[in-house]
């Protein structure tokens, strides 16, 4: 059975609507005087991929699991670094070149932790959050293939010696079904 999911404060949002980057960054530090660093990342839709033009893309996701996966990644980041606030927004549906897809914002006392946590969240999101991109190209619609570089980007965090919190049992780097 699918367990009920705690409705935490809005650290994670999965939505079709666009977001306001400036507003999100401002909210991360709102009402706090202990924030010394804010690191953020914004992912955009490119107009070309794998040698083809991209007119638009449609992001499909797994409602329910997507939110859980993002929350899990945020929890792992908080367990690794001293973070003061975290915000992750990921859009779904049809998006066009230059549209924003994803926002990650992290605050900490010092820049090192904010930089690292922001990159960690993006690397893990790329390999663990259940989103799939279907691109509209002049040759027709095509599903984007997962990149090995994304797997290695995520794997280096496991190899970096930082402690990985006890997770949900499954080794995420070994989720290809064993035969």
């Amino acid at each position: 059975m699918v367990e009920a999911r705690a409705q935490d404060a809005a650290e994670v949002s999965v939505q079709h609507e666009d977001f306001d980057v400036g507003g999100e960054i401002a909210r991360l530090g709102e009402g706090r005087r202990d924030v010394g660093a804010v690191a953020s990342f914004v992912g955009l839709v490119r107009d070309a991929n794998d040698g083809s033009g991209v007119r638009a893309m449609t992001l499909e996701h797994y409602p329910g699991m997507t939110e859980r996966a993002l929350e899990e990644i945020v929890e792992q980041a908080k367990a690794r670094w001293s973070l003061l606030s975290v915000r992750v927004i990921h859009r779904y549906g049809r998006l066009e070149p230059a549209d924003r897809i994803v926002f990650v914002g992290v605050t900490s006392a010092h820049r090192g932790e904010a930089f690292a946590a922001c990159e960690f969240i993006m690397d893990y999101l790329k390999t663990r959050a259940p989103f799939w991109k279907c691109e509209e190209t002049p040759q027709g619609a095509r599903w984007v293939d997962a990149r090995e570089s994304d797997d290695s980007a995520a794997a280096r965090w496991a190899a970096s010696g930082a402690q990985v919190p006890a997770g949900e049992g499954e080794d995420w780097d070994d989720i290809e079904l064993r035969r």
Partner: protein
């Protein structure tokens, strides 16, 4: 007594099998995610997208799961290609 599970398919795998999901009474001997995958692949045609060797991921009750994960009545199982968000 029947063991009914909910199965979901996403992205290119959804297109290959031709449906977004179904409810299935687990046949005798199908007790794990891996066994369910094999059972579905044996339907043939588009379902062969689930065959061994294809790059398929699975989730059990909305958490990534391996082939050994065991199934219970009421479970939600999902099959999909490697994720490409971000």
């Amino acid at each position: 007594m029947t063991s009914k599970v909910k199965i979901l398919y996403f992205a290119s795998l959804r297109e290959a099998v031709g449906c977004a999901g179904e409810e299935l009474d687990l046949p005798a001997g199908v007790g794990t995610v891996g066994a369910l995958r094999s059972h579905l692949a044996a339907r043939g045609e588009g379902w062969q997208a689930l065959a061994a060797g294809r790059n398929v991921r699975a989730a059990l009750n909305q958490k990534m799961a391996g082939a050994d994960a065991s199934l219970d009545a009421g479970d939600e199982v999902a099959f999909f290609p490697p994720v490409t968000g971000g």
